[in-house]
């Protein structure tokens, strides 16, 4: 038993403390989080744009025109992105589309942003369509434009209904960034691979990063549920408790 403990302690020291490996782990963690956050921003912007185009096209009576073309482009985008593996998209972005760029952070955030935009677009579109049509009719009948109605009335309500799905997408995005080592980025997964290469140890580094991912996901889940509660402040929750 004693022996087992000292082995564990040795492994731990070798994996995390020797040659200041914890510093490399922290910088890897920074890379992982940075890619996730930037990609999320790109993804949300793309997702909202695509969702608005797709849902306003669906509601329009006369098809065709500029909106029809935009709708086709959005459809192709979603189909292609959802139909190919993330790692393949990342490799294509790095070795083909942006082959001249050495800025791997840019390549990674763009790839992940474009990827998650396609998934978010469908989630957001579902949320927009779930908002009662009477809501946008009420907005329009007051004289608000289509864009104002979307911005102030429909999208805030849509976000409330899709928040759990958005949380899922964020978690998936975070975990998927673990493949960025294929384009040579030093995220926490790459850190674990490196440590294993140096120390011939697998247990500590890999279980270590698994724990790191798990903790971040738990924190994110908690944050999402706090936001959910905050957005539910339309008085209905209070009413139910009577």
């Amino acid at each position: 038993m004693q022996e087992w403990f000292s082995k564990i302690a040795f492994d731990f020291r070798q994996s995390f403390i020797d040659s200041d490996r914890w510093q490399a782990l922290l910088s890897g963690l920074g890379t992982t989080l940075l890619i996730t956050v930037l990609a999320l921003v790109i993804g949300v912007v793309l997702g909202v744009l695509v969702a608005v185009v797709r849902s306003s096209y669906d509601q329009k009576k006369k098809k065709g025109g500029v909106l029809g073309l935009l709708n086709k482009i959005c459809y192709v985008y979603i189909t292609v992105i959802r139909g190919t593996p993330m790692m393949v998209q990342l490799l294509i972005m790095y070795f083909v589309i942006m082959a001249s760029s050495t800025n791997t952070m840019l390549v990674a955030t763009l790839s992940f942003g474009i990827n998650s935009g396609a998934y978010l677009a469908e989630i957001i579109r579902g949320g927009i369509m779930a908002v009662d049509r009477g809501q946008s009719e009420a907005g329009r009948s007051l004289g608000l434009s289509y864009v104002q109605t979307m911005r102030f009335i429909v999208i805030p309500q849509a976000i409330k209904t899709i928040l759990p799905a958005l949380g899922n997408e964020l978690i998936a995005l975070l975990k998927e960034t673990s493949i960025v080592n294929v384009i040579g980025m030093k995220d926490i997964t790459k850190w674990a691979i490196n440590v294993q290469g140096r120390t011939y140890q697998a247990f500590m580094p890999f279980l270590g990063i698994a724990a790191v991912y798990l903790v971040i996901v738990i924190i994110l889940t908690k944050l999402v549920s706090i936001m959910e509660r905050r957005l539910a402040n339309d008085g209905t929750a209070k009413k139910r408790s009577h």
Partner: protein
């Protein structure tokens, strides 16, 4: 000439056709009428006769297939016409209230006038409180729609439309989704509005209200107006067979 001048809304040979892959519905079949400034027009008719569609077409929530809708001298069906601008002058109250559930009552009322730059936030707040006081709901200004009863919601919906200071108010079955004991409070507000000289077009099943408040009653069937006249003419001495049949069913 005199009549021409007074017409706030003119509807000329309106047709509305709904097409979807499975069927085609001819909801409005050649409807023409005029709504004069200050007039209270009540539209009655059996369900599915197109009265709601007619009302919703007046502010282009439904797109006319053909025909013209002339509001204050502007043809709303013209492609070049800025519908948003005219909708500001046409208030609408819905059967299901359609209050914005994520905003307080006050915010519900001030959103449009502030965003459309008709009022500053302070002016809008002041006006909202004044209107809420008039319908007896000033103490609920910070509540959310989910915390109000149906009758209260509909009263808020009416004053929300009034915030834009419209020239005409459209009511689409405003009491049909209410519990019976709440119908009265909403009709009271509408009665008061009518008394204050507001031009109103009301689709309703409240025959008592129609008799009492309407200047003119339109009876619609199968997408067009088949009889119209003063409440007295329509209710006491209907000429058309279908009007007679309908009234004998609803007035007991």
């Amino acid at each position: 000439m005199e009549q021409q001048k007074n017409a706030l809304i003119e509807v000329k040979d309106l047709h509305v056709v709904f097409r979807d892959p499975s069927r085609t519905v001819h909801a409005i079949t050649g409807l023409s009428t005029e709504i004069k400034s200050g007039e209270v027009v009540v539209v009655i008719g059996p369900s599915g006769c197109g009265k709601s569609t007619f009302l919703r077409t007046l502010n282009l929530l439904e797109t006319p297939t053909s025909g013209k809708i002339i509001f204050e001298g502007n043809d709303l069906t013209d492609e070049k016409c800025d519908v948003n601008l005219h909708r500001q002058r046409i208030g609408m109250v819905f059967q299901h209230f359609n209050l914005f559930p994520n905003m307080t009552i006050k915010k519900n009322m001030t959103l449009a006038p502030v965003q459309l730059k008709k009022k500053t936030q302070e002016e809008a707040d002041e006006k909202a409180m004044e209107l809420l006081k008039r319908v007896g709901l000033d103490d609920r200004c910070d509540a959310y729609p989910g915390q109000l009863s149906g009758g209260q919601k509909q009263r808020v919906a009416i004053v929300r439309a009034l915030m834009m200071e419209p020239d005409v108010m459209l009511f689409d079955e405003p009491t049909s989704a209410l519990d019976p004991e709440m119908v009265g409070e909403v009709l009271d507000v509408m009665r008061e509005l009518a008394k204050a000289g507001m031009t109103m077009v009301v689709v309703t099943h409240e025959m008592g209200f129609a008799k009492e408040v309407a200047d003119r009653v339109l009876f619609m069937s199968e997408g067009s107006i088949i009889e119209e006249g003063s409440p007295k003419e329509i209710f006491d001495n209907p000429q058309n067979r279908r009007t007679q049949e309908f009234l004998s069913k609803v007035l007991h």
